[in-house]
């Protein structure tokens, strides 16, 4: 075939497909944007049950967390209407709810039992007392530790340890010859990665992001103490290159038996105790995230929740799906098929009253961690914002990403802690001034 014929054929094909392409319609199904994690993927597998019961088909758009955040934010602010349900977190929900971008979930059926939602979760997903997203699963953070290494070090982990104890234990458990790091913590830049961890940790050291007049507080001793303690401990007992480690890197290290302790999301408990993936599945103990005796622990609170954007044409169907996916019946469905350890945790009180779930090794510590976190009162000194590992204002994600980059550079030894804090103070004050808070 000559080049000309090929080009003509290809052009014709292109125009035909383009004609069809412009005519792509939105089928009479609901489209859900969600993140790629174990619980969400499991839910996709059970969608047929929902379709059989209601006749409503479901299309899934699964994206990586940060891509999803950008995608749904663009969609909701441009009123794109590409999604009928969005998976969003505790950070976005109150902000978007206040802007009128979400449909209030204030008319859920009696069977749904909205009172059964854990108060901390329902509170974090509400604005002005109205629920704007239903929690699919919730998490806090806690200590996961190697009970065998702790015993070998001659120590016993308390249920509610202090940072001082954690520092001592990390040093005692470190065994460089055998590639065992006493402690693994997030150091990676990003507000949801290392930024979330250090913010939650700073709460226990008496630090806060802003005073009541929205002035940045990085020039305080509390922040200097937080970062100094973190860096000293990690330099002595953390893994090489910890400044670039996030959740996945630490999970990998822990599962391979290379961490004595790991403080991170409670959902990690099901990964590290799964014998198919973890080499230390039967040696893991759990404890509350540490404190310094100032009245606040260093655990956070987060929920992945399902919300309906205000522009959707299929509000009723979307609401039906949310009721199904976050119901007690869904939990029973998963438990019946995959066991109680695999049900979505952290959303409903009744789950933690269930004797079957109480038998799961990490259930109690997860609940205790969630209950000890209060987004409305997260700091020792009063602060003007809601949130534990974040401040629920639209500007926070951008500011915290920049600040966490400065912190990561300090962990990596590229600058001193004092310089990092100085820069953080300037970045934050400048951004808050530009946004009109100061």
């Amino acid at each position: 075939m000559s080049f000309k014929s090929t080009l003509c054929a290809a052009t014709a094909l292109s125009l035909i497909t383009a004609g069809g392409a412009f005519a792509d319609g939105h089928a009479k199904t609901i489209t859900i944007a969600t993140v790629n994690n174990g619980d969400m993927i499991r839910m996709q597998g059970y969608t047929d049950h929902f379709t059989e019961a209601t006749g409503i088909s479901v299309e899934w758009v699964t994206l990586e967390e940060n891509v999803l955040r950008q995608r749904v934010t663009t969609d909701i602010t441009t009123k794109g209407g590409a999604f009928d349900i969005m998976t969003i977190g505790m950070y976005e929900t109150p902000i978007w709810g206040a802007n009128g971008w979400l449909v209030a979930l204030d008319d859920l059926s009696d069977d749904y039992d909205v009172q059964d939602l854990l108060p901390a979760m329902a509170g974090g997903l509400s604005h002005d007392g109205k629920l704007f997203a239903a929690p699919f699963y919730g998490e806090s953070s806690m200590i996961m530790y190697r009970a065998d290494l702790m015993e070998k070090a001659g120590l016993e982990m308390p249920d509610a340890p202090t940072w001082e104890f954690i520092g001592q234990a990390a040093a005692a458990m470190t065994d460089r010859d055998n590639e065992i790091n006493g402690i693994c913590l997030r150091g990676k830049a990003g507000w949801g990665e290392g930024g979330a961890f250090i913010t939650a940790m700073s709460n226990s050291f008496g630090a806060r992001w802003f005073d009541e007049d929205w002035n940045a507080q990085f020039d305080t001793d509390a922040w200097a103490n937080t970062l100094t303690f973190y860096k000293d401990m990690m330099d002595a007992a953390g893994p090489t290159g910890y400044a670039t480690n996030g959740f996945n890197e630490n999970l990998s290290l822990f599962q391979q038996g290379k961490c004595g302790m790991w403080i991170d999301a409670t959902v990690a408990a099901s990964f590290v105790t799964n014998p198919n993936d973890s080499t230390v599945a039967d040696k893991v103990g759990f404890a509350l995230a540490p404190d310094t005796g100032l009245g606040k622990r260093s655990n956070w609170l987060w929920a992945w929740a399902l919300a309906i954007p205000a522009g959707t044409q299929q509000q009723a169907e979307a609401k039906q799906f949310i009721e199904w996916a976050t119901s007690k019946d869904y939990i029973e469905l998963v438990a019946a098929n995959e066991g109680w350890a695999n049900v979505p945790p952290g959303a409903r009180t009744s789950l933690y009253e269930n004797p079957n779930y109480q038998a799961v090794p990490f259930a109690k510590m997860t609940l205790d961690s969630i209950l000890s976190a209060d987004p409305n009162d997260s700091t020792v000194d009063p602060s003007p914002y809601v949130g534990i590992q974040f401040a629920a204002i639209p500007e926070f994600a951008g500011i915290a990403t920049e600040v966490s980059q400065e912190f990561s550079a300090a962990y990596a030894g590229q600058q001193t802690i004092a310089v990092a804090l100085e820069k953080a103070q300037a970045i934050t004050n400048e951004a808050m001034e530009a946004a009109g808070y100061r």
Binding site: F3, K4, L7, A10, T11, L13, S14, T17, A18, G19, G20, A21, F22, A23, D24, H26, A27, T31, A33, V35, N36, N37, G38, Q44, E59, W60, V61, T62, L63, E64, E65, N66, V67, Q70, R71, T74, D75, T77, T78, K79, G80, G81, A82, F83, G192, E193, G246, F247, N248, L251, S252, Q255, Q256, K258, A265, V267, F271, N276, D277, T279
Partner: protein, 276 residues
């Protein structure tokens, strides 16, 4: 006088070429290898090169979870459509710039290229609003147009470079023989520029195939191509590297095969005009 190439120099050059090739190819090799491991093997330290139980489990899971053919179809249509649309617009544009240049031709070419320097996110909202206004969100046609526009400067530049190598006298001769503009473009210019057009087509098809920013931000369930397919297996909270590798291997396989079979044409086109 021809330069003498010693055996030692030949060996060194060959070794350097192989080393560079291996470095470039290693990430692809590792992705393919990881796709045949279990999730535990994928994160094993030290890394496992060959001594592991090979499994097709990840491919089975990916097939079960995602409609691969739908994503593939979208990729072929979007990449193919945008490339052909781009070529149709770029051939006349490059012809006029190469053979009927004005005082501003060079400025226009530079300005076209400068649009590539703007970060895509800078125009995310305007483009999104246009898509919403004209109901183009999550349509293959809308994406074809956007990707065509993004790659158009490169297509025009490449074709302009190739056309400049063609002696203008040949076109003049065809005009003297009575060829119309259409005939000049179709029967004289195009056949002579086939290697250049073919390599431009291939390169832009690859660029359009790999385009991730717009395909992720302007699609949902209907028009999502293979870039969205890969993105659905990426997760910051959970170790799914083996599945992600299987999805990546499935996404790059078609373009790798295309590149392999057309490498001669691609290299010939890219080096067209390099030696006078």
């Amino acid at each position: 006088m021809a330069r003498t190439v010693t055996t030692q120099r030949k060996i060194l050059t060959t070794a350097a070429a192989w080393t560079i090739c291996l470095i470039i190819f290693f990430p692809i090799y590792w992705t393919i290898l990881t796709s045949f491991k279990t999730e535990a093997q994928a994160i094993n330290d030290p890394p496992l090169f060959f001594a592991f139980d090979w499994t097709l489990e990840n491919y089975a899971i990916v097939q079960e979870r995602s409609d691969y053919m739908k994503f593939l179809r979208n990729s072929v249509i979007i990449a193919g459509g945008s490339t052909i649309l781009g070529i149709l617009i770029a051939i006349p544009a490059a012809w006029s710039m190469a053979f009927v240049p004005s005082r501003r031709t060079k400025d226009i070419l530079l300005w076209m290229l400068s649009t590539k320097m703007l970060p895509a996110v800078g125009v995310l909202y305007p483009i999104s609003l246009i898509f919403v206004r004209f109901d183009l969100l999550d349509t293959r046609g809308g994406l074809m147009v956007v990707i065509m526009l993004i790659n158009l400067p490169i297509i025009v530049w490449m074709l302009y470079t190739y056309f400049k190598e063609i002696p203008g006298e040949i076109l003049e001769a065809s005009r003297m023989d009575g060829a119309t503009l259409k005939e000049e473009l179709l029967y004289v210019l195009t056949p002579m520029a086939i290697p250049g057009i073919a390599s431009t087509l291939l390169l832009n098809f690859i660029l359009a195939w790999n385009e991730a920013f717009w395909t992720l931000n302007l699609t949902a369930a209907n028009a999502a191509p293979l870039t969205a397919f890969i993105a659905s297996y990426s997760s910051p909270e959970g170790l799914f590297f083996a599945k992600l590798s299987a999805a990546s291997t499935m996404a790059i396989a078609p373009i790798l095969i295309l590149g392999w079979f057309s490498q001669k044409q691609l290299v010939r086109g890219l080096t067209f005009g390099a030696v006078k």
